[in-house]
């Protein structure tokens, strides 16, 4: 009995240590013309119509590789997802959701409008999901998408 409790404590401790090995940070960027070139800089001047890039960086600081990384990012309220803007640094599978729960490829997303079924518009996406197969120890990767402020 005592042994079991100790094991449980250890496993909780182990879990929390493991947990800390993968971290994700989110940044918002906007385009700015610097020396006649458009560059992505930290978003500071956001007005209706501004395009924002959300960049999420995933870091594996541990000694073990992580697998089946599933990153989800709800499209912020008042923002409209920009078609084709979701990307990832390496290889990944990207799917989208109209309700934040069910994720599918763009050609499999439909909405019903006045009794008629039509393909969902990118601006109607509510969330984006990236699946990365593997992130090695001491590795980092990133995923991103662009959206426009209504």
């Amino acid at each position: 009995m005592r042994k079991g409790l100790l094991y449980l404590c250890l496993s909780v401790l182990l879990t929390s240590v493991m947990h800390a090995e993968i971290s994700i940070t989110s940044e918002s960027l906007q385009e700015k013309r610097i020396n006649k070139q458009l560059k992505w800089v930290k978003a500071t001047k956001v007005i209706p119509g501004t395009k924002i890039r959300y960049l999420n960086t995933v870091s594996n600081t541990g000694e073990q590789a992580a697998e089946d990384l599933v990153i989800t990012n709800p499209v912020p309220k008042h923002m409209q997802y920009l078609e084709g803007s979701a990307k990832c640094a390496g290889a990944c599978t990207i799917t989208y959701s109209l309700d934040g729960k069910v994720f599918k490829a763009p050609d499999k997303l439909f909405v019903t409008e006045m009794g008629k079924k039509r393909k969902a518009r990118a601006s109607e996406y509510k969330a984006v999901k990236w699946v990365i197969e593997r992130l090695g120890a001491k590795q980092r990767s990133s995923v991103q998408f662009d959206a426009v402020l209504e």
């Binding site: 879990t15 493991m18 947990h19 090995e21 993968i22 971290s23 994700i24 940070t25 989110s26 940044e27 918002s28 978003a43 500071t44 001047k45 956001v46 007005i47 209706p48 119509g49 395009k51 924002i52 959300y54 999420n56 995933v58 541990g62 073990q64 590789a65 992580a66 697998e67 089946d68 990384l69 599933v70 990153i71 989800t72 990012n73 709800p74 912020p76 309220k77 008042h78 923002m79 920009l82 992130l135 995923v143 426009v148 402020l149 209504e150």
Partner: protein
């Protein structure tokens, strides 16, 4: 290649639309976070990112339109004539606009004592006893208000067709540089950055007064005795031709003609365009009140294609 161009154009169009419309209110928090779930050695974990919070900055803009469909027709010497404008806050946050009058240099004449009133009771019509004279107007995002320019027409003799152009300007008190894209750090609602929009945060519009054509009423009266010799008991028919000089409308046109002394009105003889009118004051246009005949013609309108003309007749007998 063609596809890329199309995509870019569409994006620009979407961006423009967003700028034209009010858009999300200034000061709104736009927050974002991402979550990641993963496996290590077959055990599932998940973690959530920081939550980003960007605040929507303020676009400053204003639109002024002149709401009278055509020049407001006035006469020399008119007092308190009204031009109606509409001022709209086309930005995405509350703003106070300074209202400024200026005379248009291209005018035939200048008005005097111009004053600006705000449509306090929001009915779109100038109410002198209700609407307040004011030179600044606070509007929420996308809100609009009627603004009245009230001025006097000089007591002069400007000919008909003379025009007076009058400008109403509305200028943001947050920005209003006139140059789109001018930035005002921390000056917007809730301390957000403010930026002059497509009109540069200022707009003005021209409204005009025009001296109307002068309209005159003419009465031509003729008497026809029943016989060449006029003596006691002779019947005389009077004809009064009513006409307008110039095009336009006259309201409440009433023709009154006292019966000449030494004559007696012939009861029931009053006619309008040959149609008999009763002497009593009733639903028809005419009456005889004991001293004079009176015919109410109401609104008289004359145009080039539709001339106005009425004929009033009545009879008297020499006493």
């Amino acid at each position: 290649m063609r596809r890329i161009v199309c995509t870019v154009l569409l994006w620009m169009a979407a961006g423009m639309t967003a700028l034209l419309a009010k858009g999300v209110l200034a000061g709104t928090e736009i927050s974002n976070f991402a979550t990641v779930s993963y496996q290590i050695d077959g055990v599932s974990y998940s973690t959530t990112s920081n939550t980003l919070s960007d605040r929507v900055d303020q676009i400053i803009d204003v639109n002024v339109v002149w709401n009278d469909a055509s020049p407001v027709i006035v006469e020399n010497g008119d007092i308190g004539k009204v031009l109606t404008f509409k001022v709209t806050n086309t930005g995405n946050g509350e703003d106070t606009f300074t209202l400024l009058y200026s005379a248009d240099a291209a005018s035939d004449f200048a008005v005097t004592d111009p004053k600006i009133y705000i449509d306090t009771n929001n009915n779109g019509v100038f109410d002198p006893s209700i609407d307040n004279e004011a030179y600044s107007l606070t509007l929420a995002a996308d809100a609009s208000s009627a603004v009245f320019l009230v001025a006097d027409i000089p007591a002069d003799s400007y000919p008909s067709g003379s025009v007076s152009g009058n400008l109403l300007e509305a200028k943001s008190t947050i920005g209003g540089s006139g140059t789109p894209g001018t930035v005002y750090p921390d000056a917007g609602v809730d301390g957000v950055t403010a930026v002059d929009g497509m009109n540069g945060g200022v707009d003005k519009q021209l409204g005009t007064y025009e001296i109307g054509s002068e309209l005159g009423v003419s009465l031509t009266k003729s008497a026809t005795p029943e016989s060449a010799e006029v003596a006691t008991g002779t019947l005389i028919q009077y004809d009064i031709a009513v006409a307008l000089q110039g095009n336009g409308s006259v309201e409440n046109l009433v023709v009154t003609d006292p019966i000449p002394s030494g004559t007696t009105y012939v009861a029931g003889s009053l006619k309008l365009d040959g149609v008999a009118l009763t002497d009593a004051e009733d639903s028809d246009e005419g009456r005889f009140d004991g001293n004079a005949v009176e015919v109410k013609l109401g609104t008289a309108t004359q145009t080039d294609t539709l001339p106005f003309g009425r004929m009033i007749t009545f009879e008297v007998r020499i006493e």
